[in-house]
Symmetry: D2
Subunit: 144 residues, 4 copies
């Protein structure tokens, strides 16, 4: 959260193309600051779903922290390209970083993060990240 | 849905006071047409919750039709007063009508309806309206 | 609004593919009834934008009535195909009908309508539909 | 963003009471992580509006960064009490911190921040915070 400027697309992996909706624009005529989180939330969920994170019955994922830095405006009807990467993997939680790019632009208009914890459905407590999940997360882990 | 003009508050019962949010305003600077449905949905759910509609485990309520006529603009930070009435009670479904009023105005800025059906949780099929629900619905039924 | 069952895709023209978002699902685990209006609103706006409805400075479009009939559930991560048609063209207003289709299904899970009026920016009053707009609307007008 | 646990109400000033809506609950049956930002956005805007921040024509306020830490779940129909404080005032930007409290609970279920910059309408560039705004911000500035 101490970045001085937006990252290029090359800083992210596993891009998704997301649509904007007319109602995403607020009274200033640009995408309301809340919508960025909706796009981030959907990008992360899409990514996890494609990799089987929801094919298990015994754990779920809770967001424990999120954040976003806004570099420039976006607005409906822009197409948003969301790039993902993982910046940290702990024992029971991990951190996604997401870059949001407008249309064909190479500099992110916003960059956010999203910390999730794996929670055991029975106990409601954090549980060690499943090996299969960890392997997927490591594939987009930023080299330290 | 063939009304020629807005109803006054006296046409509705059981008023609720609902807040608007900054993001409710769209690029035209007024409440987006979708938000009216969010207010209607919440007004109906509040009313049902207060009367025990959700204290049962064996049925749920599905929306099968909804609609709204827009007479005038509203916008954040308006306070919205939502009045309810029931226009029809069938065997398994019923129709709410909702008037939305801005601040101290007496003419509705929008009027909508919301048809719900009671669905049996086991069969997933419509089931006869429970007597206790029917009694609550009849209390705000418009005289024919 | 008196339909007995869902229409097939062949009843609509000019299809668009719309994405769902994770937050579209409500506590029942399906697309909240409000989201249908967001998809309809965006489908109509996309269609109009592609045809130059927003390239003029002297008029805007206001929604005066909308409605939706819900035939079946949809949910994130479904892809929604929205078909449009025009059912009525008046002097200053017109009516879109929109069919929403899940993934590869041929029967609409919901069908809605959306009445718009062309409003003169100076007077704030309804104004006669511009000829260029009328020609586009007529192209998807349902034969009586 | 490095907090180890939730703050009590006494850590915040200028509380507002905010309503939840039925659609705020997501498929997990709790308030979606995005909704917290909607509540924060509205709480800040309410506070600013009451203090004349929008009575001027020559500047607007842009969000440049936001974030939220989630300590516990909240859900419709909870009432949310939002407390505000200012943690930093710069030359052209400042930081709000917002604590969100459920019903009568004394520990925040979420705490967020919201960095705004004052932008000159003509130049589109950051401009020095107006004295009247600065005085309001200082009133809820956390002592260092």
């Amino acid at each position: 959260m101490s970045k001085s400027g937006p990252s290029p697309r090359s800083a992210y992996y596993d891009f998704q193309t997301l649509q904007t909706r007319w109602e995403d624009n607020d009274a200033y005529g640009h995408m309301n600051n809340i919508v960025h989180y909706s796009l981030i939330d959907t990008a992360v969920t899409n990514w996890q779903r494609d990799r089987g994170f929801f094919d298990v019955d015994d754990v779920k994922f809770m967001v424990v922290q999120s954040g976003c830095t806004y570099f420039a405006e976006a607005r409906y009807p822009d197409t948003v390209h969301a790039g993902l990467r993982v910046s940290k993997i702990g024992r029971t939680s991990w951190t996604y970083e997401i870059g949001l790019f407008r249309n064909e632009e190479n500099a992110a208009f916003a960059e956010g993060f999203f910390v999730q914890v794996q929670v055991d459905d029975d106990t409601g407590r954090p549980s060690p990240i499943k090996d299969t999940f960890r392997r997927h997360l490591e594939r987009i882990l930023v080299s330290p």
